[in-house]
Amino acid sequence: MSTETVKAPVKIKVAGDGLFSSKNKKLVTDPLNDSNPITVQVLGICSALAVTTKMEPSIVMALAVTVVCAFSNLVISLIRNIIPNRIRIIVQLTVVAALVILVDQFLKAYVYDVSKQLSVFVGLIITNCIIMGRLEAFAMGNKPWPAFLDGIGNGMGYGLILVLVSAVRELFGAGELMGMRIIPESFYKMGYFNNGLAILPPMALIIVGVIIWIQRSKNPKLVESK
């Protein structure tokens, strides 16, 4: 199901369009729902499982992926006409890797705690298929501004699912949201327990599954025909 959406480059005419024309807006809003990179294209699952035990690292991860996705789309789109075809994947990887290292350096300098929690997963943004997928499918064939918006949209679509999953996991796994206690002490005294499964990776997969289920039952056109 994922291959179709990734392979077909979306050509959009922007001549005469305003910066925030309806087509451009769609670039940002579509990935939030109808072409969500995680729930519809089922990309980037690995990091979605790993970083979503708490909301704070998820939000930082979502921002990091959005920044990398948007700016790599922008850079690749700017140089799309001079990239030698034979080394285009290497060029894309180099741009993505450079941006990821920059983001990682910034995190280490300004939000050290979070960068320790995210540890290797910031580095692994390089291999996040969402970013490579958008570069190949969109940035190589579109102008810089739509490409930039597309990157933001896909980063946010990824981030939205991350935040949803992490909210459920933190609430049931630790009784907290953003590190603040939500489930009152009196519940625990009455015999309530945090769900240990919620902080383990399988729970993320289950929640993503539930989100996909809800999304498809509301939007039957996403369901592939047999």
């Binding site: 990239i83 030698p84 075809n85 080394i87 450079a98 280490k108 300098a109 300004y110 050290y112």
Partner: protein, 253 residues
């Protein structure tokens, strides 16, 4: 119009791209380096402080550290104080341990931090060893008698979450409190992490982590190897057994 698929253009494109990216990353590393090093320093201070039971935030770690520290000394492998410009805080344990591999054991330096909290002295010893997947490290604080463990804090690079990574939890670390590293007749025993659980009256053993045997053994090895190097210092500074140790040396800062 040049042929952008020619070998020549491809080579030039790749070279230019690599140079541009390298310059960008180098600039970022130089600009952000000092901030990152400061973060690492603060974290080290927080870890050291937590081994003597002082909780600190990023903002006040440096202030608390300077407030409680009494002295920091550097020892050689004979347990004698080394008088030079190296500050204990700046010693990189990894580099010191690498000296063993290159046959320079007599050059190895051992940092020791001495804190004063509520009129009692505490000796903090940094330890470093091997876990299952990567390095593990920690700080062990001893009470004035240089025998009883006051607190321990451990960290790790990449141990398995839920198994080996449990060494950095309070549950594991609190087991060390009150254990002793010498037996009643003054022989060095270290503190061992015992698989299957330590007997309740064992003064030199704590429970291992189920499923984290390699990491647990790493903790045992790290403690006995490191503490052993400090024995000569403990003996010479604590001959009367329990009396206040005599520490001389340059003061902190």
């Amino acid at each position: 119009m040049i042929n952008k698929n020619s070998n020549q253009f491809t080579m030039i494109f790749a070279s230019v791209m690599v140079v541009v990216v390298a310059v960008l990353l180098a600039l970022a590393a130089i600009q952000l380096g000092p901030l990152q090093q400061q973060n690492v320093r603060i974290e080290k201070m927080q870890n050291i402080l937590s081994s003597i039971g002082i909780e600190s935030e990023v903002d006040d770690a440096e202030k608390l550290f300077n407030q409680y520290i009494q002295d920091q000394v550097v020892l050689n492998n004979q347990g004698e104080q080394v008088k030079n410009d190296v500050k204990a805080f700046d010693i990189d344990l990894k580099k010191e341990q690498d000296k063993l591999k290159t046959g320079r054991a007599n050059e190895q330096l051992f940092p020791l931090f001495i804190f004063k909290k509520e009129d009692k002295l505490y000796y903090v010893i940094p330890v470093r060893g091997k876990g299952l997947w990567g390095p593990i490290w920690g700080y062990l604080s001893l009470q004035e008698d240089m025998n009883t463990i006051y607190g321990a804090s451990f960290g790790h690079k990449s141990e398995t979450p839920g198994l080996g990574a449990e060494i950095s939890t309070a549950e594991f670390q609190e087991q060390f409190n009150g254990k002793t590293i010498f037996d009643n007749s003054g022989n060095f025993t270290s503190v061992r992490v015992i698989k299957g659980g330590a007997p309740p009256d064992d003064q030199h053993g704590v429970d291992a982590i189920s499923g984290g045997t390699v990491t647990s053994n790493g903790v045992s090895e790290m403690l006995s190897r490191t503490l052993e190097s400090y024995i000569p210092f403990f003996k010479s500074n604590n001959s009367s057994g329990g009396d206040t140790a005599v520490i001389t040396g340059q003061s902190a800062n």
